[in-house]
């Protein structure tokens, strides 16, 4: 009987529509779910895989030793490393040229995994679109800059020989 009455007066539908109505008038604020991107940004979890960066040691020197493992591991082949001995100390290996073509990057994070000296890290930056493709090819300078901002210096893990 009640079911019959509910049916003829569209009770369920009205209840549903009321909910809609309620949400319709519920604006930005405490209970809102809409995020007003780009004015507002979603908080990201810690493991978020965003734009890559290069980090420095605490003394300000580059961590990257130019071992080229990231290049080898990268599945989309977007990293290019040219290693060399540094001018001041030819026995010191560093990346003379380092570049990530972010247009190709699939943000898998394998390179970060591969890096034996924790020189590579992923930031939470994801707004990468540009009018020109060329401007999002990340040079070493750009990568280091981002690293400086997002990863303030930390002591490096020791590998092998003492410096």
């Amino acid at each position: 009987m009640i079911k019959f009455l509910k049916n003829i007066f569209f009770i369920d539908i009205i209840v549903g529509l009321l909910l809609t109505l309620k949400h319709f008038f519920m604006f930005k604020g405490k209970r809102g779910v809409t995020i007003e991107y780009p004015d507002e940004k979603r908080p990201l979890p810690d493991g978020y895989r965003g734009l890559l960066c290069l980090r420095r040691k605490d003394d300000g020197s580059e961590r990257c030793v130019g071992c080229t493992l990231c290049e080898a591991y990268c599945p989309s082949k977007c990293i290019t490393v040219v290693s060399a001995g540094s001018e001041a100390d030819p026995m010191k290996r560093y990346a003379k040229f380092y570049q990530i073509d972010i247009t190709k990057c699939v943000f898998c994070g394998y390179c970060v995994d591969a890096c034996p000296v924790e020189a590579l890290a992923m930031t939470k930056r994801y707004e990468l679109s540009q009018y020109e493709k060329g401007t999002i090819v990340m040079t070493k300078e750009k990568l280091l800059e981002i690293g400086d901002e997002d990863y303030p210096c930390q002591p490096v893990r020791q590998t092998g020989r003492k410096d």
């Binding site: 071992c67 080898a72 290693s83 092998g160």
Partner: protein
């Protein structure tokens, strides 16, 4: 063959084979570290442990030889545990700095640990300090990474015969270093130790941190320096040649290289390379386009042909070009221009040996191969300095000598190969012919000739006897300084040889009468029966890598491709038919004749490829003058040379790393080279330049690629098999007494009283031609030339090591640094020929051979005094 069981699998292997090799043959992998197939068994790392039934404990497979019914297990928990343990031992002190280590990615230790190790090190104490020495100009030693396999020490001793490296200290403190101590290797810098080191303990400075092995492209090719024709691979990245690597089982060199081959590659990417065609405007060379440059060349050539005839143009090509280049060049000159005025760098002396050999044996492949040298039982090395001119051929001699072959080394100074000689004969400079004739005389007088030869060529022997009649051993002794006994001993040793090889050095071929001396030595071969083509013969040393090819491809006025005689109408026709155009019949000019022609105004234009006469001829010589007199000079080269400065048009050529083709080495083996990188700048492979020019000259020679040219070459050479050459020796020995007497003339060399020292310029190990001077490696080891002088002479002149000496003669004076060494006899001076400055070459005169017109300008007489610096 023996039968053994490895892992339940029946394996057949030759008796005495090492267990590691037998297992490998059967497809079973036994991990090894200190074992290397090139070296003697050592058994140092104990990684190759296997269980052999009925033997106590585990055994090292790399030192165990297989025998019948052996039962071997290579995989079991016990063995695995042992391997893991051994690897952990190796890693006890290992720095594990793989990310930085240059060996990472191709490190044997890395691979072994990855595959067999536990990847864990229990040892946690402080790591021992080891030598890290980077003072050597080429080889870095980082001994904390050393696994003490001693492969470096062994290769240096067993393969190179240099014995420069040694292991010092004991146990875990063992370190590797030069035998004489210090941090500088100061050796032959063959780089074998770097190449064989399984880890990153010995690394090349030139490659340091440049790339990982997986980043490079590998191209198998042939060395461009000397006539050994060593095979190696160029590793390149982004158009840059990063290093040279070898495989121990490839090529005539079997993985060995000399310093030029291994470290002399950086000329390829040298910034000084010519990258665009240049044209002379007023007095300066300005860049221009290929089209314009070739247009002008074709125009000028055509005009000269119109006004003065085709024979007013001449061409000279280097022996560093490929067969395809050289073939096309001579075809261009002969057909597109219409002249036989073509010559190559072989005219500096190699032609002497080649002409003599052709004269005696015919045009078929004739010389001793490097393998013959390695297998010989007696080697007679005459004025060869082989270890410096052709180091890998030298290695074969060393190897033969170590194996027990009798080496007789005769030279005017104490050369490196003499160390291995059973008889080391130092003859006086200028008496080489007396020595050679002495040997033949000894053979004749002692009846050392081959019986068969005696029966067959009695008349020849009689003729020889009478040609040498006037020569007495006393005279030989005073002239050469070698006693009758020694000469007879040498002759005896050589004539009893089953496999006797004569090594004909540049001390003979690059010197007046080089042709006659070569013939004389061939007579010696014939007399003693050492010329049957089965591992016995003569091997002339070849300075530039493709001099053989240059002659064989017909870059000589007297030869057509396939060594046919250009003066013979019938032989000309054979090739004309294949080319479908008549070869000009007018006799061509040789290099000295070309320059004389310029002086006389007969030659108006010169096309020079890769040669640098302005930089090699003495400046006071007429030839140098001739270069300035030319109406039109075209230079095609890798680098802006002194000759380029005089040129009207300069064309940039590609180096061997940028083109395909073939090189023919000193044994007559043609080997393919492959382009490893794209041509540097706008440079082009030489053959493409000739193609482009020929089109503009109205005789298009269009080929798709180098292979197409090679096909044509094969066709030409096949087409010219000549019948009368079948019994070339039989024909040769019919030589008349008069001619023979001429061949046995000896000319006395008079020492001018005012200039009492004989100065010789010659090749040295670390350089070869001008290319090595543009390469980082050779320059680091030997940046400048030093004059070698005997201590007694130096004493007399008051010169001490490091001083400068002033060399003087009628042609001028030059200051040079001296090196005092008793390896050079009194009265003789030696200076490396490769250095432009100081210009010692300017003291020399040009001497032209009467027979082959070879031109020599590598010796002279000088006075020496100490140079007192002005302060």
């Amino acid at each position: 063959m023996v039968k053994l069981t490895i892992n339940n699998k029946i394996v057949e292997a030759p008796d005495g084979m090492l267990l590691t090799e037998a297992a490998k043959m059967a497809g079973i992998e036994i991990p090894t570290l200190c074992y290397h197939p090139e070296l003697q068994p050592y058994g140092g790392c104990r990684l190759c442990l296997v269980r052999i039934e009925k033997m106590p404990k585990l055994q090292t497979a790399c030192t165990t030889r297989v025998c019948d019914n052996m039962v071997v297990t290579t995989e079991s928990p016990e063995i695995e545990k042992a391997r893991k343990g051994m690897l952990e031992f190796v890693l006890t002190y290992h720095p594990l700095d793989c990310p930085i280590c240059d060996k990472g990615g191709e490190c044997e230790l890395q691979n072994l640990v990855f595959k067999f190790g536990s990847g864990f090190r229990r040892y946690a104490e402080d790591i021992e300090e080891y030598t890290i020495d980077t003072n050597d100009p080429l080889i870095d030693r980082e001994l904390d990474r050393c696994v003490r396999c001693l492969r470096c020490v062994r290769v240096c001793d067993e393969v190179q015969g240099v014995t420069n490296l040694t292991a010092y200290n004991r146990g875990s403190h063992t370190e590797i270093g030069p035998f004489m101590g210090g941090s500088i290797f100061n050796c032959e810098y063959c780089g074998s130790c770097v190449s064989i080191c399984p880890v990153g303990a010995l690394t090349s400075k030139l490659f340091k941190y440049k790339a990982r092995p997986w980043q490079t492209k590998r191209t198998e090719t042939i060395c461009t320096y000397c006539g050994c024709g060593c095979q190696f691979a160029l590793e390149t990245r982004n158009g840059e040649v990063l290093r040279v690597v070898t495989d121990y089982d490839k090529g005539v060199n079997e993985g060995s290289l000399c310093t030029r081959g291994r470290f002399g590659y950086s000329f390829i990417n040298n910034k000084k390379r010519l990258t665009t065609p240049l044209i002379k405007t007023n007095t300066k060379l300005e860049p221009t386009s290929w089209d314009e440059a070739t247009d002008i060349i074709a125009d000028r050539f055509k005009k000269i042909i119109e006004n003065n005839g085709p024979d007013a143009i001449a061409g000279i090509i280097t022996g560093h070009c490929t067969n395809e280049d050289i073939y096309l060049f001579q075809k261009f000159m002969r057909l597109a221009i219409g002249t036989n005025n073509i010559d190559s760098a072989a005219r500096y002396g190699y032609i002497n040996a080649m002409s003599a050999i052709k004269q005696v044996i015919g045009s078929k492949r004739f010389e001793a191969s490097l393998e013959d040298v390695a297998n010989a039982d007696v080697i007679l090395s005459i004025c060869s300095n082989i270890t410096e001119v052709n180091p890998i051929a030298g290695l074969k001699v060393r190897r033969a000598a170590k194996r027990g072959a009798e080496l007789i080394a005769a030279d005017v100074r104490d050369t490196d190969i003499a160390k291995f000689a059973a008889q080391n004969l130092i003859i006086k400079s200028g008496s080489e012919r007396w020595f050679i004739h002495g040997l033949i005389k000894a053979v004749l007088e002692e009846g050392l000739y081959d019986n068969k030869v005696y029966k067959e060529h009695k008349k020849f022997i009689n003729n020889l006897n009478s040609a040498l009649k006037g020569l007495l051993f006393e005279e030989i002794e005073t002239k050469t300084g070698i006693s009758e006994k020694d000469i007879i001993n040498a002759a005896k040793a050589y004539s009893k040889a089953k496999k006797g090889v004569i090594i004909l050095g540049q001390g003979i071929t690059h010197q007046q009468d080089g042709y006659k001396s070569s013939l004389n030595l061939l007579d010696l071969c014939i007399l003693t029966g050492n010329i049957d083509g089965k591992g016995t013969a003569i091997l002339p040393l070849c300075d530039e890598n493709n001099e053989y090819g240059a002659i064989e491809m017909g870059a000589a006025p007297e030869f057509l491709p396939g060594l046919l005689n250009a003066g013979d109408a019938r032989q000309r026709d054979i090739i004309s038919k294949i080319w479908d155009k008549k070869i000009p019949s007018k006799k061509g000019l040789t290099m000295p004749e070309i320059f004389n022609g310029v002086l006389k105004g007969k030659i108006k234009a010169l096309y020079i490829i890769g040669e640098n006469p302005a930089g090699t001829f003495p400046q006071k010589s007429e030839f140098y003058e001739a270069l300035q007199k030319l109406d039109f000079l075209v230079c095609q080269d890798l680098f802006p040379t002194a000759t380029c400065e005089l040129a009207d048009i300069v064309l940039p050529a590609s180096s061997f790393a940028e083109k395909d083709g073939t090189f023919t080495n000193m044994e007559g083996r043609a080997q393919k080279i492959k382009a490893a990188i794209n041509p540097v700048g706008e440079s082009r492979p030489d053959y493409q330049i000739f193609s482009a020019l020929s089109e503009k000259m109205g005789y298009p020679m269009d080929y798709d690629n180098a292979d197409a040219i090679l096909k044509e070459i094969a066709q030409v050479i096949e087409g010219c098999g000549l019948e009368e050459e079948k019994d070339a020796i039989g024909n040769y020995v019919k030589i008349s007494l008069k001619d023979l007497k001429e061949q046995y003339e000896r000319k006395e060399e008079k020492l001018p009283a005012k200039f009492p020292f004989k100065l010789k310029l010659g090749p040295v190990l670390f350089h070869s031609g001008k290319l090595s001077g543009y390469s980082d490696g050779p320059v680091r080891i030997l940046p400048e030339g030093r004059l070698k002088i005997n201590p007694n002479d130096a004493d007399r002149l008051g010169i001490i090591e490091g001083d400068r000496a002033l060399l003087k003669n009628a042609n001028g004076e030059v200051k040079v640094k001296v090196e005092i060494t008793d390896r050079i006899p009194e009265g003789l001076l030696f200076y490396p020929e490769h250095f432009m400055y100081p210009a010692v070459r300017n003291l020399c005169e040009i001497d032209i051979d009467k027979d082959t017109k070879a031109n020599y300008f590598k010796s002279t007489f000088v006075a020496v005094e100490r140079h007192v610096p002005e302060h």
